[in-house]
């Protein structure tokens, strides 16, 4: 077995609450492993901390504690030249495809920029050839090198964003909601493209998303996050066919079914209330205030993540469910 690409241990990300002297824990002790060539999905409601994890790993967020081992170094400790050098191997695709491209740069320049930084030995022609090859690989045309981001539709701009992230053939790709902002008929095009590229380049991908159906298609394993803590981690089949955590179950049951006969037969509201404020998380299990099967003991102690069946689950009652 080869070594994992990324090992995250007890990741904690805190934000200072303006003017109060208090701290808010957006991510509170998250651990996971990303194997080589694997796509790991991170799902959860807004406020669960999933984008905060993505930003902490690519070092675009506030300081984090814990460890994130990648290529023999702790990503969270790197500074200056060593951090800059690490970026060659670690890239991100953002949610908003147009907002993440510099509006004043032509697509050609956008794609060549990583090469100018990290492949100074390449001449102008070699850079242009590499940009063109990647552009064509993501389904755009040579003429598009001359165009500006605003001339593209959302789906096309996201293709540019993906091409930029792959120019250096980085081994770890963090995708923060890469298809959420796209139109329905475009989402599946981009999901297919990402999967093809992941396989071709043997990329290790951290795939942040809230769309469970998209995650099922794109990911090998899935991590379910709630209020900054891991509720369940398991393989795609374990998680979708035999979810153990009541939160995972509720998320799955909340997805609308595109079949009116089935939808009408079930018509239910799986979860009441909303995710609590991370300023005052519930005691014990953070999910207990919305959990349909919570017991008194859930308020006393946070359940540790432990192996139940084929998944790792943080629930006192995982065996019974």
């Amino acid at each position: 077995m080869t070594e994992p690409t990324l090992v995250v241990r007890e990741l904690v990300v805190r934000f200072a609450v303006h003017g109060s002297g208090r701290w808010l824990r957006a991510v509170d002790g998250v651990s996971f492993t990303l194997e080589r060539g694997e796509t790991l999905g991170v799902v959860g409601e807004s406020g669960s901390g999933k984008s905060t994890i993505a930003r902490a790993l690519v070092r675009l967020g506030p300081a984090a504690t814990g460890a994130a081992w990648f290529r023999g170094a702790n990503l969270l400790d790197l500074e200056g030249a060593r951090l800059r050098a690490m970026r060659e191997h670690l890239q991100i695709v953002f949610q908003d495809p147009l907002g993440s491209l510099d509006p004043r740069m032509r697509v050609g320049a956008i794609l060549e920029e990583p090469l100018r930084e990290f492949r100074p030995e390449l001449g102008r022609a070699a850079r242009r050839d590499a940009a063109l090859a990647m552009l064509e690989r993501v389904g755009l045309r040579a003429a598009d090198l001359q165009r500006f981001p605003h001339e593209f539709s959302g789906g096309q701009a996201q293709r540019v964003g993906i091409a930029r992230a792959l120019m250096l053939k980085s081994e770890l790709l963090v995708c923060d909601e890469p298809i959420s902002a796209l139109d329905v008929s475009i989402k599946s095009q981009i999901a297919n493209l990402l999967k093809d590229l992941q396989q071709e380049l043997n990329l290790s991908v951290l795939f942040i998303a809230h769309d469970l159906a998209a995650v099922r298609f794109s990911c090998d394993r899935i991590l379910v996050l709630y209020l900054g803590r891991v509720m369940e981690i398991g393989s795609r089949s374990a998680l979708f066919e035999a979810p153990r955590h009541p939160y995972t179950r509720a998320l799955l049951q909340s997805v609308p079914i595109a079949d009116p006969a089935l939808a009408r037969a079930r018509r239910l509201v799986p979860l009441s209330g909303e995710i609590p404020s991370p300023l005052s998380p519930p005691s014990g299990c953070v999910f207990r205030t919305r959990c349909p099967v919570a017991e008194p003991r859930c308020a006393d102690a946070a359940p540790p993540l432990r192996r139940v069946g084929a998944s790792d689950v943080a629930c006192h009652r995982a065996e019974e469910l």
Partner: protein, 330 residues
Amino acid sequence: MSAAPLLTVRDLCVSYRADRGALHALNGVSLDLAPGEFLGIVGESGSGKTQLLLAMLGLSAPGARLRGSIRYRGRELIAAGERALSSLRGARIAMIFQDPMTALNPYLTIGTQLTEGVRHHLGLSRAAAYRRAIDMLDAVHIAEPQRRFGQHPHELSGGMRQRIVIAMALILEPDIVLADEPTTALDVTVQAQILALLHELRARTRAAIVLVTHDLGVIAEVADRVLVMYAGRVVEQADALRLFARVRHPYTEGLRRSIPALSGPLPARLPCIGGNPPDPAALPPGCAFASRCAYVFERCHTTPPPLTVREPGHESACYHEGPLGSVLLR
């Protein structure tokens, strides 16, 4: 459908002048809305679904050119003056917007925003308006309504804000509630709560609801009847059960198949609709979907197919009449 329609739209066209020429947002949309009906409109960005709702409220952006007819209980709205429209707006035809944060005024309390309409339209006293607002907050299942009445929008969660926006839309007991992607900004668990609430309120108020969304799943959960829009036209419409039992238009079928399933076998690749929706400033002369369609005929490129009855209660705007097989998508 024997009751007279509450709202009829006929051949509605909306266009805007832009640097690149005229932008055609709606290109001949017709529909009837029956009292108490739950109509779902599906479409992607640029399909014209929001433009249709705004036209029904007389809120098209300045510079919009409207042609055709929109009648509410027989009264023509397109040429109606601002006074006539504002007496309908909110009172008879209300709107629920997508983003509850921007639909609410951050400076005003929930109570002020909820009672503004009843005091203006019905001339209720402060005390009567307060009672009505508290009842309405109760109806949308806001806990501690008296406390919430005095709070500002930022003190509430996203789901609660959307409940407030719904309460504001319903407080005048309108005949028609227009909802533009009312759950798109919400998490799935909260979306399920809001859809259940809309269902419950519809049964209680008898208001007709027009819900616009890009999500076929949301439509399947709540709509009695479905209208599918593409490039400013209605391409398919039917009763929800009938539509999902047998989709007739290649675009609708493409949408349906491109949604990955939550269970069952996983395909190696997702079926997709290739290409992109057309530019509203440069619509093709024929069917706007032709360049992305696997069932394309010669005449699709020259003459747009009219919306035609395929079986009672099911209309499709497509020359292809046979079944939609697996070759649908490229």
